[in-house]
Amino acid sequence: MKPIIRVLSGLSLAIFAAPSIAALNIFACEQEWAALAQELAGDKASVYSATTALQDVHKVEARPSLIARVRSADLLICSGSELEVGWLPLLLTQSGNAKIQLGSAGYFEASQFVPKLEIPKVVDRALGDVHPSGNPHVHLDPRNIARVAEALTERFVQLDPANTDIYKARGNSFRERWRAALSRWEQQAAPLKGVPVVVYHKDMSYFINWSGMREAGSLEPKPGLPPTPAHLAELVERMKREPAKVVVYSAYNSPRAAEFLSERTKIPSVMLPFTVGGTDRAKDLFGLFDDTIGRLLATVK
């Protein structure tokens, strides 16, 4: 073979063979679904996450690299409920990929498989960036992870029937391990019941609902709007009357507003991983809940 041909064929391999040879090419919008897909599919899938724990998933650029990834995906896993409305529709229309369009088997919206919280009765932009079909940050209720896992295993089987046995076995193994972890977390989180908490954004609602904590306020004046001095001042006053026991923010939030409130009110603040990769300990979904509960207990006690 002439060297030039060898170089060219090497180059074309490097360009075109890059997406993996695994059975399923998965594009996950968020880290939690990437982690779940990896748990459930093992080496039968090559999983790419569009975002990291340090990104605000409401505000993501429809970058060229993401279009390239969606172009070759067999399955797209996103939270849905308008969470990705600012960027996902562009990835879908630009990708030229029929497999992952809305209504296809390759389009999976996790929030459709769980009972939704905070479905607004009134939808108006004056209320901030509200989601008409309910709060989309569903993954921080560990019971929801189990629900989505069931549906996702079914979807894997539908898309890749040749590996049905493997997906079922992995699904069962995950369900057992998750059940054991869930009963452990329920015991560990018992002291959190009734604890008033100030959140940054309404992204902790499902965790609060599961753990029985009580939301006492949010650093954002309205969902999606950055904290303002006037709102923080009002929050300081409110905390003097009815103090919360902890102020939480996520890995992708700036700590400044939480630290400000914490300094003024002596209420401790803590950063939570929010999703897989948000802290060193939140390496996978199990670590995410271990660390979230652990950090809250250490702060509240």
Binding site: T52, E61, V85, L90, K99, I119
Partner: protein
Amino acid sequence: MHRKATTALAVAAALGLPHAATAQQAAVQASSPTGENAMNPAVSVILNGIYSNLSQDPTAFRINGFTPTLGEVGPGVRGFSLGESELALAANIDHNFRGTLIASISPEDGIGVEEGTIQTLALSYGFTIKAGRFFSGVGYQNQIHAHAWDFTDAPLANKVFLGNQLGEDGVQLKWVAPASFYWDVGVEAGRGRQFPAAAGPAGPRNKNGVSSGNVFTHVGGDFGTGAAWQTGLSYLSTSPQDRTFEDPTGTTNSFTGQSRLWVLDGILKWAPNYNPTYTNFKLQGEYFRRKEDGDLTSGTTAQTGGFASVQSGWYLQGVYQFVPMWRVGYRYDRLNSGSTSFSAPLNAADFPILAAYNPTRHTVMVDWSPSEFSRVRLQFASDKSRSDVTDKQVFLQYIVSLGAHGAHKF
């Protein structure tokens, strides 16, 4: 107490009222549209208004050294004005197509169709076809709707080479390569409804087939821990016939021949960890080069002769969000009237607008976006589009969007 509740329930049942639990459910369901309305397309409206302070008379605006495009290239009117309002409707038509209609409602000219397309969803292998009226994929900024521009007005190069913004009636075929980085190739065939294919009262060419062709390619990717880039090359080829333009002296000249435009564009966006919430930076630039040759007819002498030109222009702009909600930006524009040649019996003196001149402009802006849906911008420019005067321009502008949450292209 218990009896009272039971009685209340019985009364409610007798009156056909739902009881508490079902009433609550009904309230929840009512929040999403039901019946025929459930299939309504996503509707959004863009409103914008401008206050302009211009040191030079905008009705005498021209860009010296370049063929006027007869498009809306001027800086607008002095004082308060309502900008174009946009009404956008979009939805999936069925499992095969997506439809978009964007109507622009101008306070003077009534309603126009800015974009009206159907786009395929179900083609595979990276192909998409778009048909209808759309902003041509030539260069970078041309495809972006004016409300999403980082400055109030278009770069000078877009004004002289694309008549501000080229909208085409036609078909676009695009292919995205199955690569680990982004790579697309596209081709457009159009009617040539605007400059450079057509301008003036003659309008688009009266002919079957394709009057305007464009091919483009883009590559893009990520690097580091927060940067994304894309660069593109496009080639627009048209053959205008009797394309008229008015010289400032008032005579109407016309051109018939070939027009070929190359555009090289690049965009770089950066945000720490790809999280643009707090700070982000955007660098954007384009280089245009156009060759035209054919016959020019002078309105003064009524004589026709050969005409050829090679002209270029570029701009570079940077926009930096330094705290949440606040951005500052700077743009530099430069055009090069390059070489123009007239062959006998034409005389360069009969075409004063085409006399050699290199226009430049400096623009700075600051904008404030209290939410994703509203923006207020203050912009200053020192515009040397005219060879004899400098126009000091001040724009104060608001741009807001109502309704469905739009998604913006990279």
